[in-house]
């Protein structure tokens, strides 16, 4: 028997679960890093030097990723709260998951454009 035939293949709920874990894990580790970089504020010159890195194009792409993770985790968290507290309010679990993915993508595209704009204009 191949491993794939015994592998659990869930529906949208399984993907929501996996993505919720991954995005939560990533945001938490960014938070740990963020505590350290903000602590440099006691030495403003050093803070500005380190902070300038965040304007770099690679770090801007990272910030777009952070926004996507935050948006997915927020909206899917809202979906979980609905499922747990108001189960009768949800007619179709799948369409709610589709809405979470759609809003996450749409807001990431808009926010991502604003974050990347200085790069498109050739400033970074």
């Amino acid at each position: 028997m191949s491993p794939s035939s015994t592998m659990y293949r869930g529906k949208s709920g399984q993907w929501a679960f996996v993505l919720h874990r991954i995005t939560g894990f990533l945001v938490f580790f960014f938070l740990l890093l963020h505590i350290v970089d903000v602590s440099l504020i006691t030495r403003p010159e050093l803070y500005d030097e380190v902070h300038a890195v965040y304007g770099n194009v690679l770090l801007r792409l990272f910030e777009v990723g952070l926004l996507a993770a935050l948006l997915f985790h927020s909206l899917n968290g809202l979906r979980i709260v609905l499922v747990d507290f108001f189960p009768e309010a949800l007619k179709s679990e799948r369409s709610v998951f589709a809405a979470v993915m759609f809003i996450t993508t749409a807001l990431t595209v808009v926010g991502g454009y604003i974050i990347m704009k200085p790069f498109f204009e050739g400033r970074f």
């Binding site: 938070l31 006691t42 403003p44 803070y47 965040y54 304007g55 968290g77």
Partner: protein, 135 residues
Amino acid sequence: MAVDTEPSRTRPAGPHTDRRPRQNFETWSWFFMRVSGLVLIFLALLHFSITHILNDVAETDARFVAQRWDNPMWRVFDWALLALAMLHGLNGLRWIIDDYVRVPGKRAAVKAVLYTVTGALFAYGTFTIVSYSPA
């Protein structure tokens, strides 16, 4: 009377305990994740909007922080975000460790590292926000 049908060893006496199951730590941990999550949606997305959407990230330099933290309300906001996000993330990682680290000794060790690092960085972040005074 309830006393006749419900033996006291399974249902402790009391005005509110006769119909509800007992609330243990994991029940509160589940509830905390939902409540803190709802608050964090507001705090985290507002914080991200201010630092990356309404202002460009390149503009949020030391002077920007000095102006912002001149208002104690923003320090309260930032500290609330720090505290809730750390607790929410800590509890989430605790669940992840319980799911994937199955050997008891290893699990205890990984949790010890998580609690130590999270506790230390939470104290460090709190110190940064509270002790800051512009030069």
